[in-house]
Amino acid sequence: MKQKRVSFKNEWNGILFALPAILGLLIFTLGPMLYSLYMSFTDYSGSNVPTFVGLDNYTRIFSGEDQYFYKSLRVTVYFVILSVPSGIIYSFLLALLLNRDVKGKAIFRTIFYLPSIVPIIAISFIWLWLLNPDLGLANELLGALGFPGSQWIFGEKSVVPSLAMMNLWTTGGTMIIFLAGLQDIPRSLYEAIEIDGGSRFDKLWAITVPMMTPTIFFNLIIGIINGFQIFAQAHVMTNGGPNNASLFYVFYLYREAFQFSRMGSASAIAWVLFIIIMALTFIVFKTSRKWVYYEGDGSR
């Protein structure tokens, strides 16, 4: 009896300490979210009294009456498909390199991490210069190597690949997480493979990659979520152009809300994105059972 009372007191104290976070979540996240869910069923311009219109906002976007919805979805999915796998492979390879005992390891790590703490607006401006088709470094380099240049972000076909490429530059955060994961792999496993006469490739394929799958899984989820929310590049560098070729979903949402003053419809668009991301995350979680290896998980 007595013991139970003490443990309950602890429970109560625990809740008390967690209360700021819980309240924060309720007031600043859950509340506004539910409010926006309600708004997505209304005709709301930002200044008028919202009137309930049922599913009108949703039918408008799904029926294709709003010509930008599917376009922006296609553009965004294309970006995610290009940028997420390449970002993970690139930062994984970087992490492998920087995990080795090279001279000036700390400096290299800093250099590769640095871009991810530069504000995205500043990064956008730097790349605007680099990717300028006439004067930019990118085309100068290609030219010097004898390759033809590209229109980069000014071409309808090249704008999304250009932005995906630029995205690689900012994957320092992902790299750090991979580095942390790499350092967690017990040395004894490598030693065992050395004794068995395994090659470097064996080490990578039989130990490093399987041991890293939880980290890859984590980075994949985060990558997909971030990829779908790409916005600043379209806002600063391309304004969604040329000819809507970089009309990313969130930029489309922003335009609907703040340029066309259709907050109700923008709320619906936001909820569709929420559901898309939820569904994709769920799918990745489901498939993860097949390929993610957890140490100490006896079932595999």
Binding site: R5, F8, W12, I15, L19, L23, L26, I27, L30, G31, L34, Y35, Y38, S45, G46, S47, N48, V49, P50, E65, Q67, L128, W129, N132, P133, D134, L135, Q151, F154, E156, G240, G241, P242, N243, N244, R255, F258, Q259, F260, S261, M263
Partner: protein, 471 residues
């Protein structure tokens, strides 16, 4: 016992939070409704009578530091005359303006009056702002006819969000030194002597140089390495519409049912501008333009010899140390141009619309913000274009913001040849133009002809085309 009370407390906290959340949500609706009914219930007259009552007005506006200062000075002058009114100026940067204003409205903190852009028409339809024509009816000191003919922002027939509070116009600006270096005559300043398109292209060619100093007509000219462009056209409706109008086209067709830009007269004009870039190589493409600085700096650094863009650039040009001038726009058939600008709106939630109206009238009178009218704004009261004495006070060519030729090239050419601007005339303009601008990207980049691109745009925006406010 204890356990139960603990659960109760938690439950209570959760309930309390949910109540706050829902209350906020509902509060918004309710207050919105009550706000509107209160406004509709009271007429303007009830509120106006007490002139001795101390009144405070909130006024939201945007603008450069100079504009901010000029507006604040005007407020001081206004408060000097109207001792019972104090005005609280709220300066918001242009890019955040609508978001902040919406937040203020949603939070029941709407200003009494405000600067406004195209979004105001929606507010008019939602009955959030006063119909300017209702307010003007009650004021004998001024009438509708005193204002420029096409200076109105209407959301319906006889329903107006006001006249331009200050106007700007499309303008051709140039660096005179570059004309002298090339041995070319500067642009004409009288509309009757405006360059034909061919004359304009010829001049632009003489002013265009590649790295080796060659002109576009000469053998060996390298269009990839142009050092100096003859002209930079800002690639928005503000700059291409004068030429479209000049060729007999318009944004919508006369009956307002179709996209006029897709018609041959308009498409031809737009194609001619695209040809400046892709055929004649005298103007930068959007790609090349991305590395060219803002108009005043571009002219000053001799990257371009002429700029066709809004007259708001005159202010920057007057501050730059440069020998600049203005000319009339080139034409295809006859001279056409337009005024454009924002207007002052008065919110129906205002408790003091009469006082707000007084201030709105005060700020629209160039006398009270003369400094701004001597370099940036243009008046919207017709008499300021007709009375020589008044003209002299704002358009005198001795003023640093008003170069030689200003009165003919900017003031008269627009005043005498003004058409309605699509922005304040075409319904759903903001959305239509977003689609048109995207399609025109391909025209400026040279991947499609103007006719093709605009025909495609026409298909896509059919549901948005719903006529104009003036017809």
């Amino acid at each position: 016992m204890r356990k139960r009370s603990g659960t109760k407390t938690i439950l209570f906290v959760f309930l309390a939070v949910m109540m706050i959340v829902t209350a906020c949500a509902n509060g918004n609706n309710d207050s919105g409704q009550s706000k509107n009914t209160a406004v509709n219930g009271n007429s303007t007259k009830d509120k106006s009578s007490g002139t001795n009552e101390q009144v405070k007005l909130k006024f939201t506006f945007w603008g450069s530091p100079q504009e901010k200062k000029a507006v604040e000075d005007a407020i001081k002058a206004f408060e000097g005359i109207h001792k019972n009114i104090t005005i609280e100026p709220v300066h918001i940067t242009g890019t955040d303006f609508l978001q902040k204003l919406n937040a203020m409205i949603a939070g029941n903190e709407a200003p009494d009056l405000s600067y406004s852009a195209a979004w105001k028409l929606k507010m008019g339809e939602e009955d959030l702002i006063y119909n300017f024509f209702d307010l003007i009816k009650e004021d004998p000191s001024i009438k509708k006819e005193d204002y420029l003919e096409y200076g109105w922002w209407n959301w319906d027939t006889d329903k107006s969000a006001g006249p331009y509070q200050a106007a700007v116009v499309p303008s051709l600006m140039y660096n005179a030194d570059m004309f002298q270096d090339a041995g070319v005559e500067v642009p004409p300043t009288k509309a009757s002597e405006a360059w034909t398109w061919d004359e304009f292209v010829e001049t632009a060619k003489k002013l265009t140089l590649d790295r080796n100093g060659k002109h576009p007509d000469e053998a060996g000219f390298d269009p990839k390495n142009i050092k100096q462009y003859g002209v930079k056209f800002s690639l928005s409706w503000i700059s291409y519409m004068p030429l479209v109008l000049s060729n007999g086209g318009d944004y919508l067709t006369d009956d307002g049912k179709e996209l006029g830009l897709a018609k041959p007269e308009a498409a031809e004009a737009i194609q001619k501008i695209a040809d400046l870039i892709n055929v004649h190589h005298v103007a930068p493409s959007p790609v090349q333009a991305s590395s060219i600085p803002a108009p005043a700096t571009a002219l000053q650094s001799k990257k371009v010899a002429m700029v066709i863009d809004g007259s708001w650039n005159h202010l920057d040009l007057s501050k730059a140390n440069i020998n600049w001038g203005v000319g009339v726009l080139p034409i295809l058939k006859e001279y056409k141009s337009f005024f454009l600008g924002g207007s002052l709106i008065i919110f129906k939630s205002s408790k003091h619309p009469k006082e707000a109206w007084e201030f709105s009238k005060f700020l629209t009178d160039p006398n009270n913000v003369l400094e701004m009218h001597q370099g940036l704004w243009m008046p919207q009261l017709t008499k300021w274009y007709e009375d020589p004495q008044l003209i002299d006070s704002w358009a005198n060519e001795e003023l640093s913001g008003r170069p030689i030729g200003f009165q003919d090239a900017v003031m008269r050419s627009t005043f005498e040849h003004a058409e309605p601007a699509p922005e304040n005339n075409v319904k759903n303009f903001v959305e239509i133009d977003a689609a048109v601008a995207a399609s025109l990207d391909q025209v400026w980049l040279g991947t499609k002809s103007a006719e093709e691109a605009l025909k495609e745009a026409e298909e896509r925006i059919k549901p948005l085309v719903q006529g104009t406010y003036l017809k």
